[in-house]
Point group: D2
Chain length 159, copies 4
């Protein structure tokens, strides 16, 4: 186990705000989705990515990565800002064909004071694109992800 | 306790699909958001709504309804379809200034076979628009919602 | 030439609003997209649709409908409302492999006073899914659409 | 007149794609919206921005910037990519209370071959937040923008 985290800067868009003038609750999941794509999907031929980006998610790939479940706790309203917010990710669990991705979402890296905006968790499942059946994570995927296997997200608070 | 549910038909949009040709995981939260608005927010002067629609969410209202946390389990992919899907809601808990809204999302009402697409839960908190502090739910709100107080959502499955 | 129009009711979502508390400029194009899908795409096996819904847009279809260009004039801010807005459509032109769809977007049908929210125009092009090359509209498509061939949209105003 | 352009890198999100696996037509307007915000809205206290970013768009500001009309021509499908696309902007016209923003949207800066994805134009109008009436652009706004006054966008092609 380790405390290593994958950190992905994600740019907000003014369009992520809703009529309350804060990043919308569903838009926040869009931001996490983009962080996952950048952290875990194979980059294009000329693109760079982090070493955990090993999943072939190209159109026509033999496997799909589905979302089985998600939890998110919203801790502070997120205003529009130009610097990318700091999405930190690690694995709470790496199973046979699934993995639990945990997140903590912070103010932009280096900015003070630092605010924890949200904590979240996503269970992703690797399935066969044809049959929809779960497929085992490959040894390569497992090897790439295990350095970031850490603590499960503590139970989200109840208000 | 009761099994009564608030049922809100919600129209999909083709734009809710992502590149996997299914309703996107974050878009699903948008659909639940719209179901909440229709079920719980006061309608406009000439509009009709269900009896649970008692929250004044107009711009400039003295209170805001924030989302504290959400959980969602995706059980079956949702294809584009023209008939509105059947979002069923009830309260798992009604607290002092907060409430837990539970959802089950089904194929359009009356359509067979019936598929349970997703189960979810949202904790909403009523806060003062000025201070951001929690505010007690009014007796009127409580009276309108209690007929739909039911079972908490069973723990979401782990795959 | 005729004044016949295809009228599609489209439900807003509170999530279509932006921080200005009105339907966002890009969200309006999402509403028009949904109106097009309902007006022009073949319905599913058990679904009903208007007679102009003749395009096979299913995944794996041999042809795709692309958007070549769009124009939109925003005439009045659109507030959130529960009743579906009234999207009226007609063809400004039906070409060899393309067509110009015109729109006027109004307050919900039957509601007074009636407000014209927006006027818009979209040029759609039928292309081969494999090669991306334009493909001629079929005689069936042409026959289904010609009853709704009307005036081109007048040049959008300049402020 | 000049050829000077404001260049804003805008990150795509995988969620901008639709079921055709390309950036959606309405999502493209979201990207242009974000480019406008970054190019023309005053940055926050600790943020940096280009010299054209002079509009006070904060909540409670005395003026609002509305969109009067938009045109867009889609020239090539935009695939998901990690590097930010290159949105180039200039003014086609600067009027009394309005301005026409032109755009050309390209593959990421420095990438070869270079593709022109889209050309577009937006008419923005400065209005009083209370009355909704047009308000004259300030001399400061005019001075900040005039270096980027260029050619009007040529009439968009007809297919």
């Amino acid at each position: 186990m380790t405390e290593a985290r994958i950190r992905v800067p994600i740019h907000l868009r003014w369009g992520d705000l809703d009529a309350y003038n804060h990043v919308n609750n569903a838009s926040m999941l869009k931001l996490l989705e983009e962080a996952r794509v950048r952290a875990f999907w194979l980059p294009g031929a000329t693109e760079r990515a982090v070493p955990t980006a090993v999943i072939d998610a190209s159109h026509g790939a033999s496997q799909l990565t589905l979302i089985a479940r998600q939890e998110i706790e919203y801790l502070a309203p997120v205003p529009y800002q130009r610097e990318p917010i700091d999405v930190q990710m690690w694995f709470g669990k790496i199973g046979g064909s699934s993995a639990e991705v945990n997140y903590e979402v912070f103010t932009p890296a280096g900015q003070e004071p630092r605010t924890l905006y949200a904590r979240a968790s996503t269970v992703i499942v690797q399935v066969d694109a044809g049959t929809g059946r779960p497929v085992r994570l490959s040894p390569e995927t497992r090897a790439a992800w295990e350095p970031y296997l850490g603590e499960p997200l503590p139970p989200l608070g109840r208000r």
